[in-house]
Symmetry: C2
Subunit: 191 residues, 2 copies
DNA sequence: ACACGCTTATCTACCAAACGGTAGATAAGC
DNA sequence: GCTTATCTACCGTTTGGTAGATAAGCGTGT
């Protein structure tokens, strides 16, 4: 066990991971604009300069956080991919997604807060969210194609509801995320 | 007509109004954290110090903007109050609300961006949104009471969908806000 | 009409703190 | 002892905010 005080030296990859994890939580709590470079550094027990050894700039850190999240999410999603289709199957997949979010409150917050902040075209993550959400919508639309009369409307509707539910859940943790989802899904997936 | 250059002196109430209007647009575009005091001032052709003569601090300006919006919104809503109840009536009222938002894009953006940003408890507008949304939900729940089997779930669901739809509409203006609403409402208000 | 003076909206000049980032010294771990 | 992760010290800029000077607009008296 290293001494509690003094400097701690970690291998590159390990420290990078630690920084990304801490940064994720901070951004989730206060948005990207709300966290200073020093706060990022301090959160994992180092100085600004030390952090900048791993990420060229503050903006650089942000996109690294996002890309890392995508990486992790992708492996999860791929695991849950199913060849079947139809309303029942779609509902099951989406419900699994909702359940996963339920256990990752701070991550949901990261995306929700950041996505709203990035509505501004000048935000460093604006383009990231723009393309990412477009892709997500296209994927969902594709999976609704086989059974829904208006997959285009439905895809937007489903994503919008989830976005809004997440936002409200963050504002008021008493909201029963899962029950709200089931209530919506009951009508949405009804044939 | 006053000279284009040099200082312009306005009566108190008039200048306050002008500042609030400009600030509203700026916050809508970039969030509150994204706009500096000087930017607020410059937007209505004055200096920081001049602006601070009307509002004690930057945070003060923010809550003034929000309270002003509430004031304006309230008069509009009161005009559209109707004594009737039932799903059809609720749908009409909400649709009118949606139509109004449709014509006030930057205002929708103000609330959407700011509300997400204010999820952070340290945000100056956090309490404002907390109580405001609670009140709104209670009002809606009350109006659903007469006909909906689960007014509590339904109120959250409706507000969540609208929040999410607005957010997505801001991200992608090509989304047909009204059509999306009608699609959702068709199921939501079905007996 | 015009000048004078009062009120106060606005400005110029300034400040301390916080910010993102850089250069070079230092030490941790293999 | 070598590599390099980390630190100390510093810089230029931007930020929110303050103190005191300046002038715009109005009322009033002649």
């Amino acid at each position: 066990m290293p001494p509690a005080t003094g400097r701690r030296r970690l291998p590159l990859a390990e420290r990078r991971e630690e920084i990304l994890k801490a940064a994720t939580e901070l951004i989730a709590a206060s948005g990207f604009k709300g966290v200073t470079l020093e706060a990022f550094a301090e959160a994992c027990g180092m100085t600004k300069a030390g952090l900048l050894h791993h990420f060229r700039s503050r903006d650089d850190l942000l996109i690294a956080v996002l890309e890392r999240r995508d990486e992790l999410d992708l492996t999860t999603v791929v695991d849950t991919l199913e060849p079947v289709s139809g309303p029942a199957a779609s509902r099951i997949v989406m419900t699994r997604f909702v359940r996963r979010n339920l256990g990752q409150r701070s991550l949901v917050q990261l995306y929700t807060v950041l996505a709203a902040e990035a509505v501004d075209p000048a935000h460093p993550a604006h383009d990231y969210f723009r393309t990412r959400l477009r892709e997500g919508r296209a994927m969902l639309e594709h999976s609704l194609l086989s059974w829904h009369p208006r997959p285009d409307l439905a895809a937007v509707e489903l994503l919008a509801f989830l976005d809004g539910l997440q936002l409200n859940w963050l504002r008021d943790p008493d909201i029963d995320y899962l029950a709200q989802w089931q209530s919506f899904a009951g009508r949405f997936f009804a044939v």
